[in-house]
């Protein structure tokens, strides 16, 4: 397990120019998720607030059906990509596990975490170089992105099971969620609220990666394309 990832503290990294961080399956998962979640948010909002009615006979149209199909298909895609991502956490490199294993019992990790907090509060000018996620980013991924994603997939498939019907795989695996929340309407409300958490995460994530790319001494955005973290000094 990767306990802490600052490159600065390890003297062997003195002349390091680049490290291979994100293996192909992780990058693929990332970009599949970007597309799937975007489609899910747009279609999800359309399901809550349907577009203006179409005119003519019902038999001539299937607009709302297609919107819902896009939502369900993206949901399935997201779930499959997460299954592959979890599998890769077992077989991939150390960085593939950062989303799931946070070294909260490691003193150095906490020191670096606090250093990060101060950096983001403009109390340090120089930021530590990291190979993988910095501790704050790692915490945001593990305690926000992962739980919210799974909350959305579990409540999503529970709602899907209502249409799919009793005895279907989604009903058998996730049907219990409906009574847990009291009734279906509550699950709809919480699923909707979870969407806004995803939007909030996306705003912060996009800002952070762009900011880090511009202000720090390592590559961020291009790393999720090429897999390599390159260092500018």
């Amino acid at each position: 397990m990767l306990l802490h990832n600052s490159v600065d503290t390890d003297p062997r990294n003195k002349d390091l120019k680049s490290i291979y961080i994100y293996e192909a399956p992780v990058r693929l998962w990332h970009w599949v998720m970007v597309i799937a979640v975007t489609v899910l948010i747009v279609t999800g909002l359309l399901i809550s607030y349907p577009p203006p009615s179409v005119s003519g006979e019902a038999s001539e149209h299937f607009l709302f059906g297609y919107i819902r199909f896009a939502h369900f298909a993206s949901g399935y895609t997201l779930a499959v990509s997460w299954l592959l991502r979890i599998y890769w956490a077992f077989v991939g490199n150390d960085y593939a596990r950062q989303l799931f294993l946070v070294p909260i019992f490691n003193k150095i990790w906490w020191q670096e975490f606090m250093y990060d907090v101060k950096s983001y509060a403009f109390m340090h000018v120089r930021e530590i170089k990291y190979s993988g996620h910095n501790p704050m980013a790692q915490a945001a991924m593990a305690f926000m992105l992962v739980p919210v994603s799974f909350f959305m997939m579990i409540t999503g498939f529970a709602l899907y099971s209502e249409g799919a019907g009793k005895g279907t795989w989604s009903d058998m695996l996730f049907g219990w969620v409906i009574p847990l929340f009291g009734q279906s309407q509550n699950v709809h409300t919480w699923h909707h609220l979870g969407m806004w958490l995803m939007v909030t995460f996306f705003i912060v994530h996009l800002y952070m990666v762009l900011r880090q790319d511009v202000t720090t001494r390592e590559s961020i955005v291009s790393t999720m394309v090429s897999g390599y973290r390159t260092f500018k000094d």
Partner: protein
């Protein structure tokens, strides 16, 4: 106690016809002629199951619905299929006489009668908000339930709590499964439940002498296995994207989907869209109004009946998911913008002075 045979004879069916019926039943079940006398014997000796119907905190809409059943007719259910030995709103006797009927059945049919509960018990002030026969209803409920074979929870009251349990629930009215723990409970929710659903549940239990198959929430699967939405005759308009936008528009006249008007059909499990009401005449959606979700838990507390995205009480104010979530996203975006501004300013200052970002020696 009267047997099925007695009832059939009373209704003018001859012994010859009765024995013919038994032979036919045995043959159609593939049991052979040997079983015909056994079936006859069972019908001649097996007493009809007594049903005790208690009324707690309720409005009697369940009873009103029940007596309008068409298939089977409520008359047939009450007079020939079951032995409704106690129901204080329907029975002829009253007062001590009625209480005596109740006590007699409990003593005589210990563990063999069915308890049907309409309404629910309020628990505040030791249950004093609902008194029957001089005692708090909750005590009577527990007493009668103790020796029952099974318990039927009629309506949203007995199943979930309904209006008397809606916030702030001053009498602390609770569904019956909060006071009865050791008996199988069949929930038949709705405000009221559909008449045919009520009689069918009773008929099933008496005919097969077992509970109907229940779902996770204790409701009979055969009536509560699907949502109103799944069998709604307006569903094609939903899939097409044709909605009623306001109560008097073209879509309302054409019978388009009521989804945008807050119809709770997509979140409500009931048989309205198939069984319908009043001998299959219509149901709310058929009359142009959305479903209000009356058979769902806590439907009074889910905000407006006319909202698609309903409120979240947990946030103190009547806010919906969009207001809460949208505010969160907007505040975050504003925070990000401010942070980005400060970052840009700091960097501009440093670039000017010590050259941060080139050699990393800004500190």
């Amino acid at each position: 106690m009267e047997t099925f045979y007695d009832v059939l004879r009373r209704q003018g069916i001859s012994r010859r016809s009765f024995l013919k019926f038994c032979s036919l039943t045995a043959t159609s079940l593939g049991l052979g002629s040997y079983f015909a006398p056994q079936i006859a014997h069972a019908l001649e000796t097996k007493p009809r199951t007594p049903v005790l119907w208690l009324h707690g905190l309720e409005c009697t809409c369940c009873s009103e619905s029940f007596i309008r059943s068409a298939h089977p007719l409520a008359k047939d259910v009450v007079l020939s299929m079951l032995s409704l030995d106690y129901d204080d709103t329907l029975m002829a006797s009253a007062g001590l006489q009625a209480q005596a009927c109740l006590d007699e059945v409990i003593a005589k049919y210990k563990g063999n009668y069915i308890l049907a509960v309409e309404g629910n018990p309020p628990l505040n002030e030791d249950g004093m908000y609902c008194i029957t026969g001089g005692k708090p209803f909750v005590e009577e409920l527990k007493r009668v339930a103790k020796d029952a074979k099974a318990v039927i929870a009629w309506g949203a009251c007995a199943s979930w709590g309904c209006v008397q349990a809606a916030k702030p629930n001053p009498t602390n009215a609770v569904p019956i499964d909060k006071v009865i723990f050791d008996k199988p409970i069949i929930k038949v929710p709705g405000c009221p439940p559909i008449a045919e659903v009520m009689t069918a549940v009773v008929t099933y239990m008496l005919t097969f002498d077992r509970l109907p198959e229940l779902d996770r929430q204790g409701r009979p699967k055969m009536f509560y296995g699907q949502r109103i939405h799944d069998k709604c005759y307006r569903r094609p308009h939903f899939d097409a994207g044709q909605f009623v936008e306001s109560w008097d528009d073209e879509g309302a006249r054409k019978g388009h989907c009521l989804y945008k008007m807050g119809c709770k059909g997509p979140t409500t499990y009931n048989a309205c869209s198939t069984t319908r009401w009043n001998e299959g005449v219509s149901f709310p959606i058929g009359s142009g109004h959305g479903c209000i979700g009356c058979s769902e838990d806590g439907f009074w507390d889910k905000g407006s009946f006319y909202d698609r995205v309903t409120g979240i009480k947990q946030f103190g104010i009547e806010a919906n998911a969009d207001k809460v979530g949208g505010t969160l996203a907007a505040v975050t975006a504003a925070g990000v913008a401010v942070h980005a501004g400060i970052t840009a300013l700091k960097r501009a200052k440093l670039d000017h002075g010590k050259g941060f970002g080139k050699d990393g020696s800004g500190e």
